[in-house]
Subunit: 158 residues, 2 copies
């Protein structure tokens, strides 16, 4: 069991450019309930994980993750997960000694770029990269599980 | 991936008696949707599994199962799974060279006993034990995921 503290931000498309290759993520949900998210994720067809997340409490939530065979993940993505799937390319950026993950969404969430940082406490400080936009940690529309229900491409006001 | 063919029957409480010790099962659901059941199961606190099942197609369905740490299962059962949990003692019986699993339900499903046999095809024959009652393979009320929503104790007509 782990308590995960993540802060999530929009990214300025004009200022951010990938500095390394990214990894293609294909993911879907067996449950998108707010209290119990069950996610299937395949990384570039090379590794796969089943992840269970509880309800967010502030910036913290229970998260459990298990590696699974890639062929199991592909079967669940193809035949069991709710539609639409989430497709995105994940990049990693180090800024001020800290790791950011930057997700460039594709498919029905095309146009959306999100950056996340993991912290050890909710009050921990960090350097803000130049490309960092508005914080959306508390906006449930930006949860991947919600982006699978209501993709960004269909929003009227981001 | 495995396709599982199971037939399920009621058990005559007056004729069936356990011949060996049983194992206490505590299980709950992260998803009870008909298309994608996600089950957490702890066996007597000694082993635990996360299981994903697809929609039943006749007597067949997709089933994927992963062993997980018992403490993860207990955390999910205590804090994430839908209520009520399923509690039952599972016994194994060999009849005519075939293995039956007999589940004696407790808690909100007290009074219900179900027997299951796994077959390699839908038409495979088998010896019927004397204690075997009516077949309920096709009755969704007897799915454990449904017994967690509508426990047997609250039914008007079994």
């Amino acid at each position: 069991m782990a308590l995960e503290i993540e802060r999530k931000f929009l990214v300025d498309r004009d200022l951010w450019r990938p500095r390394h290759d990214g990894t293609f993520y294909r993911q879907g949900y067996l449950s998108r309930a707010e209290d119990r998210v069950v996610r299937v994720r395949a990384l570039a067809g090379r590794a796969a994980f089943l992840t269970i997340k509880g309800r967010s409490a502030g910036l913290s939530r229970i998260e459990l993750e298990y590696p699974i065979p890639v062929e199991d993940a592909e079967l669940m993505l193809d035949r069991l997960c709710e539609r639409p799937l989430i497709e995105k390319t994940r990049y990693e950026e180090t800024v001020g000694g800290r790791l950011w993950t930057v997700d460039v969404f594709q498919g029905e969430n095309d146009g959306l770029i999100l950056a996340e940082i993991e912290l050890s406490s909710e009050s921990e400080s960090f350097e803000r990269p130049a490309w960092l936009g508005r914080e959306v940690s508390d906006d449930p529309r930006y949860f991947n599980s919600e982006l699978s229900k209501q993709p960004f491409g269909y929003w009227k006001t981001p």
